[in-house]
Structure formats: structure tokens, C-alpha cells
Symmetry: C2
Subunit: 315 residues, 2 copies
């Protein structure tokens, strides 16, 4: 029996795949070598989930891996029409980031309600200035994105007594459809973007949507940068259409020092870290090893992405 | 029937007591006039809860008010042996601050876990630097103080899946006694000070107690400044005995620009605002009016402070 070839699109630190010794022939690629190595691979592990190398290399010549796993929740960085149309199975890191991201959103919501950014600025200036802050209990949130991340965010916000609505692609028990979105964000105190980046969601938070929100509303994006028209958000904040925002993800990452977003008033900028708690890379590696063992044993894979939709469907 | 005289130890903005028109003769005092006006007062409302004027004025000559209400949870600023030994009833603002303070503690815990202070510092420098943060779910907290504020903090932390122990003056179902304190803080990730300031609690967080905590532990004080030996905390942070701290209350408030506490590494300083959400003064005024109506009708008061203990006992 031949040992399958596992090609890893590398990023530092490398995944710990020692437990696959003898069960996979592990090869490595970077953006410059991926195209030439793809035909020899049975499985591709996209460990460098910031890379768009798969989108570039996939439409090439020769056989393609039968299975691609990405160590990320989003798959937008690797999807291309040829991969979507192929028989190759794509899986993602569904589940790993749910609770960390939900806690991160709660941290941002509470920090904004309690005016912590001002507290830090005043501390630097050694200035004692009492302010009144906001209760989050009894406020309203809308979480856009009804996958496991969005649902865990909603559960966490509800635990803080925030009335929370979930919006997904299709209406379902406890989940609103896109038709309800404008009505819901028009009365929300918190609008949380947690949707996958697809053709339908690209740029969905635009000038019109920020205009619909309340002047007291705050917006948080922990999904994908492309969900937001960044210029429109900056303008909405400058014009006080909304009261504040926090972005953990951006159209172009990393944000360069020249980006005007660093200094938009009322905007909190963080470096795409919401899901990355200590040990996260080990969890991602362990998840892949478990999937590999299923695959090698001929059992069905889990976390299988609907390649047309761009995410793992269902509950 | 004579209209009772209600003396208000003032602070701006004044309480809204219009609904007591005709039912109370409202007089006003400040620190300099309180002593001379106390004998003519039936009721004293300590609206300026930052003032120690009651402690100075109370031991004077002549009749004393039969009832003193303070628009605060703590009563340490007004208690003196003569008041404690008298027949005067003391009530406090029990209940008003519970949920706001619990949310504030959750905000601080999550902000520290998610390293938000570093995020703000890096944003000012326009620097993108990914870091790994901490999950709060599964961590351990100890809340010292088992009154309504401490219990609400514990409930809120539990809602974030933090394993939380409560420590009070006397052991009770679900509440640990002081004998368990050192054992509990020795394995806690979060130690929250929410106790009243009494002879027993003054300076309870000292060098020895910070030495007992884990190097990864973080300490939060939203109770009273006097609970903490501030120099000892600063040294514990400088020596990395603990990983971080947040103080919302201080031995001397407001903190002067000269205070070294502003710049202690790993210390978050906020200006005694944890319980003060928008509308808090109106809530305090409304609570007093309700108590006044009970008192005027001869019904028993609630929120009655045990003057020997220095807080409202019981659940």
C-alpha cells in the first residue's frame, strides 16, 4: 500500500505532524513552489491560511489533490472556480475559533460600553476624569453570520443579557434571513459581522447600511475584511452616523503604517487575532491529524465546505 | 402634622427630589455647614458620597437625624463610633450598582485576557503585531465580597464559563469563609476585590497575599481603595509576582497627577466609575424617594446597614 503524499503550504511555526510519521509522506511548498508540487500531492494542508497561493496555483496542469484542508474558518483565500468545480473535497477548521472569537467580541462590546479606550488615553495623561458608561444588559445586538462562530457569539452576548438576533443566508428557527437585516440593524446597539466572505457578502456593510444604523450603534467585524467597505465605515464614523467600531480584519492584511484606518476616530484596530488564543496552532494541527486519520481509514470527512457557497452548511 | 426636615449633603448635580414637595422640608448642607444643621434634621441624605463630612460632623452636640441614607454601596466614608452606637438607622444604595459593576469587571477581565491595552498602544504607533491571547472560559476566579455586588460579579463571570468562587465574612452555602481565601487565591487566574471596607478588610490585599497568587494571576479592585496596600501591589507587579491588575478605587481619590500608580507596568487605572452607568444618579434619587415614602408612612426601611459590620447583612 502506497503512503499518501501530504503537501503542506507552510507557515512558521510548522504544524506538528509527527504522529503521521509512516502514514503520510510529508512534503513542503511555499507560494513559489506550490504549482509544481500540486500534481504529486494526494492531500494539501493549507497551513499558511493568509496565503492566496492556492487560488493562483490550482488552475494549473496535471492531477490535483483529492482533499484540501485549510487551517482557518474562512475559505475565501483558496477558492477559485476550478477548485469549486472539481471533485476535490475542501475542509476547514470549523469549531476551533468559535469560543475565542465570541469572547473577543464580548471583550470589544464591553470595552466600548465601559469606555475603556478613553480610560487608557487618560491614564497615559495621568488625568482623573470620571465618566458615565453604558450598561450592556438590555441592549440589542445583531450577529450577521449564523455559522458556529456567529452562533457562539450570540450565545455569549445573550449570557451578558444582551438581546441578540442572528442573521443567516436562509431563515431558519431562531435565525433571520437577509430580508430582516436592515430592519434589525436599524434598532441595534451592536452590529457584529461574522459571516463568511462570499459573492453575496462582499461589501455588504456599505454606506447605505451604516446610514441605516442608529447614531448610538457600534459595529464590530471579526469575519473577513471584505465584508466591509472600509472607506464608508471611516466616513460613517467621521460623520457620527454611528458611535464606534472595531475591526479585527481588513481588506488588505497586514494593515500598512500608511493606512488611514489606524487613526479613524472611534475605531479600534486589532491585527486579525480574535480567534488566536494560546495553543491555537496546536489545536489546528490536532484537528488536521484527526481528519487525516478519518480520510486514511476511508471514513467520511467532517467540516466539509460547500464549495459553491463558500462555507460549511448546516448546524 | 409637621413636615420632616430632610437635610441633603450636596454634590452636583443635585438629586431630583421634586416628588417630595410638601412631604419634606428640604435643606442643604456642605462640609462646612453640616455640623450646625444636623440638629435640625430628621433625615440626612448623603448625596455627596465622596465626602467624609459626616464622620467629622456627627460626634457634635444636639439631636441627630433619625435616619441617614447614603447614595453609595459603601458606608465607610460616613461611619464613626458615635453613629454606630446611636439609634439612627443607616441605609445604603444596595442594588443600584450590582449589574453595572459586574459588567465592568467582566470588561476588565476580558480586556486583560485579550490584551486590549497592548492593542491600543500598538494602534497609536500604527503597528500591526499579531499576538496570542487567552481564553477566559475554563479559567478560575475568586470574588472577595459576598454581598449583592460580589454575587452579581460571580454570576456574570460564570456566564462567561469562568469557574468562580465567592468569599464572604462567614461561610454559607455557595460562599467560602475567610479561612479558604489563601487557598483559593493561590490557584486563581482572577482575584476580584468587591468587599466593603471594614476593620477586617482594611489592607487585606497586602504583599503576603500578592505573594500567594500565581505569576499568571490578575487582580481587580472595584470595592474600596483601602482594601489594597497600593505600594505592595505596585511592587508585586514590578517583580512579576502577578501578571496584571486593574484598580478603579484608591486609598486617596481622586488620584493626583503625581501618583506613581498611573505608570505602574501592567496596571489599569480608572477613575472610580465602575458602577456609574448613564442614568445612575436618577436611579439613586429614585431609590431614596422610595425609601423616604416608606419611612414617612411608618413602614420598615430596607437596605438597612448593620452599623457594627459596616454593610447590609443577609442575602
Amino acid at each position: 500500500m502506497t503512503v499518501p503524499t501530504l503537501l503542506v503550504l507552510d507557515a512558521e511555526p510548522l504544524p506538528r505532524l509527527g504522529s503521521l510519521t509512516g502514514r503520510a509522506r510529508i512534503e513542503h511548498a511555499d507560494a513559489s513552489t506550490l504549482a509544481e508540487r500540486l500534481p504529486g500531492a494526494d492531500v494539501l494542508l493549507v497551513w499558511d491560511f493568509t496565503s492566496r497561493a492556492v487560488r493562483s496555483a490550482w488552475p494549473g496542469e496535471g492531477p490535483r489533490p483529492r482533499w484540501v484542508h485549510t487551517a482557518s474558518a474562512g475559505v475565501d483565500h483558496l477558492m477559485c472556480p476550478e477548485l469549486a468545480a472539481s471533485d476535490t473535497i475542501v475542509t476547514n477548521a470549523r469549531g476551533i475559533f468559535d469560543q475565542p472569537i465570541a469572547e473577543y467580541v464580548a471583550a470589544l462590546v464591553l470595552a466600548m460600553a465601559k469606555d475603556l479606550p478613553t480610560t487608557w488615553a487618560l491614564q497615559r495623561e495621568r488625568t482623573w476624569r470620571h465618566r458615565e458608561s453604558q450598561r450592556v444588559a438590555g441592549t440589542r445586538a445583531v450577529v450577521v453570520g449564523s455559522g458556529p462562530i456567529g452562533r457562539t457569539i450570540a450565545r455569549t452576548l445573550k449570557a451578558l443579557d444582551i438581546t441578540t438576533a442572528l442573521v443567516g443566508r436562509t431563515p431558519h428557527t431562531g435565525i433571520h434571513g437577509p430580508d430582516d437585516l436592515d430592519r434589525l440593524i436599524a434598532r441595534a446597539d451592536w452590529v457584529i459581522a461574522a459571516a463568511p466572505l462570499t459573492e453575496q457578502t462582499y461589501g455588504m456593510f456599505d454606506a447605505r447600511r451604516f446610514g441605516v444604523m442608529q447614531p448610538s450603534a457600534r459595529f464590530v467585524n471579526i469575519g473577513r475584511g471584505g465584508l466591509v467597505v472600509e472607506d464608508a465605515l471611516a466616513e460613517a464614523l467621521a460623520k457620527r452616523w454611528i458611535a464606534g467600531a472595531a475591526l479585527d480584519v481588513f481588506e488588505h492584511e497586514p494593515l500598512t503604517p500608511e493606512s488611514p484606518l489606524w487613526q479613524v476616530p472611534g475605531l479600534i484596530v486589532s491585527p486579525h487575532m480574535s480567534g488566536d488564543t494560546i495553543g491555537w496552532r496546536d489545536e489546528l494541527g490536532k484537528q488536521f491529524v484527526e481528519l487525516y486519520e478519518r480520510w486514511a481509514a476511508g471514513r467520511p470527512l467532517v467540516n466539509v465546505v460547500d464549495k459553491k457557497r463558500g462555507y460549511v452548511p448546516g448546524r
